[in-house]
């Protein structure tokens, strides 16, 4: 189960809408070992693509150094799908490399960059196996 504050869900959805039709991506870091997503870090999609995302390699190093210095880990790794459902693609599964993270998918296929409904779902991806998990929204 992913337990997360509602404002962080809203922040991921807002980022996804803003970058639509390209995929948006980012991390929500939290204290090491806590499993609590706290610090919202939107990242640039270096691929600037509607079908692919990738953190820029220099940004990636900076992000991990910073989390290391703050004793944080990537609790949530999120990205959007802009034309398909919020479910990990084959590419998502093959590149997933944080077994401890919650992979959150946001789909903007219905809302685009507008106000319509946005789909948000959370998954564990470990050794190529996808397991959906419930999201508990807290205040």
């Amino acid at each position: 189960m992913l337990t997360i504050r509602g404002e962080l869900i809203d922040a991921m959805a807002a980022h996804a809408r803003a970058d639509h039709p390209d995929e948006a991506c980012g991390v929500i870091a939290g204290p090491d070992g806590s499993g609590r997503p706290e610090r919202f870090i939107p990242m640039v999609n270096a691929a600037r693509s509607p079908t692919f995302y990738e953190f820029d390699s220099a940004d990636l190093l900076r992000l991990y150094r910073e989390m290391d210095d703050r004793d944080e880990e990537p609790v949530v790794i999120y990205h959007s799908h802009t034309a398909t459902e919020a479910y990990p693609s084959r590419t998502d599964i093959s590149y997933a490399s944080e077994p401890g993270a919650h992979y959150v998918l946001v789909s903007t296929r219905e809302c685009g960059s507008g106000d319509g409904p946005v789909e948000v779902r959370s998954f564990r991806i470990i050794d190529g196996v996808v397991t959906e998990e419930p999201i508990e929204i807290v205040a």
Binding site: C25, V27, M43, A47, T51, F52, Y53, E54, F55, S57, A58, L60, L61, Y64, I77, H79, P88, S89, R90, T91, D92, Y95, A96, S97, E98, P99, G100
Partner: protein
């Protein structure tokens, strides 16, 4: 000529859980071979026939080795090597 090597979470099963290990080698390719001699299987996760795997980033100090010399990048005593899997998908 040991260099410090930072290991990402996903590869720590190879290093017995260690986050920082040391490796030796005049260049990155040799350093990876040295790591593999002590942590068998780790090289396979980093390189393929073409060189460094596309979705593995390796940094020498602060620089992505793709912009240096790839596996031929010279590693000096006291350098710091950081391995980070790309965060990417479709």
């Amino acid at each position: 000529m040991p260099a410090e090597v930072r290991i990402p979470t996903i590869l720590r099963p190879y290093t017995g859980g260690d986050k920082i290990v040391t490796g030796e080698g005049a260049d990155l390719g040799r350093l990876i071979a040295d790591l593999d001699s002590r942590y068998p299987g780790i090289a396979e996760r980093l390189v393929d026939e073409q060189g460094l795997r596309r979705f593995v980033n390796v940094y020498l100090n602060d620089e992505d080795v793709r912009f240096l010399g790839g596996l031929d990048t010279v590693v000096a005593d006291g350098d710091s090597v950081t391995i980070l899997p790309a965060v990417a998908g479709g």
